[in-house]
């Protein structure tokens, strides 16, 4: 989990107190990624246990306790930054499921379903863009986070566009679609399951 590595990253700048760590974390992620205090201290304890950080040894648990990163901690951080996240297995995406199911349910216009999702996604994107336009002008971190959201949503919209096109072609030329229509759903599900 990346909260662990985010804290390591903050400590790599120099020794910090627990409370300070939480504030800086939220500030750097553009305040779109809230974190509670408990989460911070649990994580710090685990890091200390693993020898990745060390406390200044004052003993008392609390906001005034200081932490600093160890050599092992720096190595761990560097390794994590360079390791690509596991993107090979498809996430259990609700939207994908809905579209797949919609193709099977009689009386439902899949393309209407897709459009409904697309409209919602574009509305979301309009809101993010508004944030970027109005507030992210000087705030680099916020801009990066908003971009990440926009690109993520954009990817989904594109998938919807592609699905829309595929369904349109399938509707225009139904013969090749008739056979796979019955089979593909369980197979995809099975394969997705086997990887997890």
């Amino acid at each position: 989990m990346s909260v662990r590595h985010a804290l390591l990253a903050l400590l790599s700048e120099g020794p910090k107190y627990g409370l300070q760590l939480r504030e800086e974390f939220e500030a750097r992620t553009g305040e779109v990624w809230p974190l509670n205090v408990g989460q911070v201290y649990t994580t710090l304890q685990r890091l200390e246990r693993d020898g990745l950080v060390e406390s200044d040894g004052s003993g008392d648990e609390g906001p005034q306790k200081g932490f600093q990163i160890t050599g092992a901690g720096s190595a761990e951080l560097a390794g994590w930054l360079h390791t690509p996240p596991d993107l090979s297995s498809p996430p259990r995406d609700e939207l994908v499921m809905k579209v797949l199911v919609a193709t099977q349910v009689p009386g439902v216009d899949v393309r209407e379903v897709i459009q409904a999702h697309r409209r919602y996604l574009v509305q979301l994107m309009q809101q993010w863009t508004r944030i970027k336009e109005e507030e992210a002008g000087d705030d680099l971190n916020l801009a990066l986070v908003v971009d990440a959201e926009l690109f993520r949503l954009d990817a989904v919209v594109r998938w919807l566009d592609a699905a829309d096109g595929r369904l349109k072609r399938a509707a225009a030329d139904p013969a090749p679609v008739a056979a796979p229509a019955a089979a593909p759903l369980p197979r995809v599900r099975r394969r997705a399951g086997s990887r997890r």
Binding site: R118, L121, R130, I131, E133
Partner: protein, 240 residues
């Protein structure tokens, strides 16, 4: 006040088996200061909508009103005048006339309209200043970067109190940074009262618009609802 109004606009290309309904009964109203994005896949009729709205093509059926004038009733020359005075175009990749400097490109529609050279040039320089390119005024298009060229095109499209800006994939050939700059300029033009229609298949670009219209097979199938303010998104995100 509606700057652009399309009522039941239809356009068909070809005939017989090769008949294509580019537009099929499109209604659209864009008011002053509004930025509307038209989204849709290729072949959905986006570009046709734009050329009809800009009087470059005539619809087979339906009515187009630009700034209250019905295009159908205008002569060829009157439509050309409308393009010089009221409508500004921004295209995807080819926008500036080679052989004319940035300033001259911007001043061209004004000069074509009979504005004396000096006045037109002044207006062009002001428009270039608005897009942050005053320094590039004496440069020729081939000395400008793609982003700069597009910004000059926007300056030209809004110079001289133009009220309708029509943009066809205005940032299609640009990287995301330049694309954002271009959309920002269009949006800020709208804040000054220009009505804009941006045609794109890119959701990120469309999301700059106040309203996104979805075009499919020549018909408007959907559009985004008036949104809540951006604060809702942040507060929504902050709840764990």
């Amino acid at each position: 006040m509606s700057i652009l109004e399309l009522r039941g606009v239809a356009k068909t290309y070809g005939d017989g088996a090769a008949e294509v309904h580019a537009l099929d009964g499109v209604d659209l109203t864009v008011t002053a200061g509004q930025m509307v994005a038209v989204m849709g896949p290729s072949g959905s009729g986006k570009s046709t909508l734009l050329t009809i709205a800009g009087s470059l093509e005539e619809p087979d059926r339906g009515e187009v009103l630009v700034a209250g004038m019905a295009l159908r009733e205008l002569s060829r020359n009157a439509r050309a005048r409308l393009r010089r005075r009221t409508v500004g175009y921004v295209f995807q990749d080819f926008n500036l006339l080679p052989g004319l400097t940035a300033a001259e490109n911007v001043a061209l529609p004004l000069e074509l309209d009979g504005v004396p050279g000096r006045t037109a040039r002044g207006a062009a320089l002001r428009a270039l200043e608005e897009v942050g390119l005053s320094a590039r005024a004496p440069h020729f298009p081939d000395q400008l970067s793609g982003g700069e060229r597009q910004r000059v095109a926007i300056a030209r499209a809004v110079a001289g109190e133009r009220r309708l800006l029509l943009a066809d994939e205005p940032s299609g050939a640009l990287d995301s940074g330049n694309a954002e700059a271009v959309m920002r300029l269009i949006h800020s033009a709208c804040k000054r009262g220009v009505a804009a229609v941006v045609v794109t298949h890119d959701a990120q670009l469309a999301s700059w618009a106040d309203r996104v219209v979805f075009l499919r097979d020549g018909k408007i199938v959907d559009q985004t609802m008036p949104m809540a303010g951006p604060e809702s998104l942040l507060s929504q995100g902050q709840t764990p």
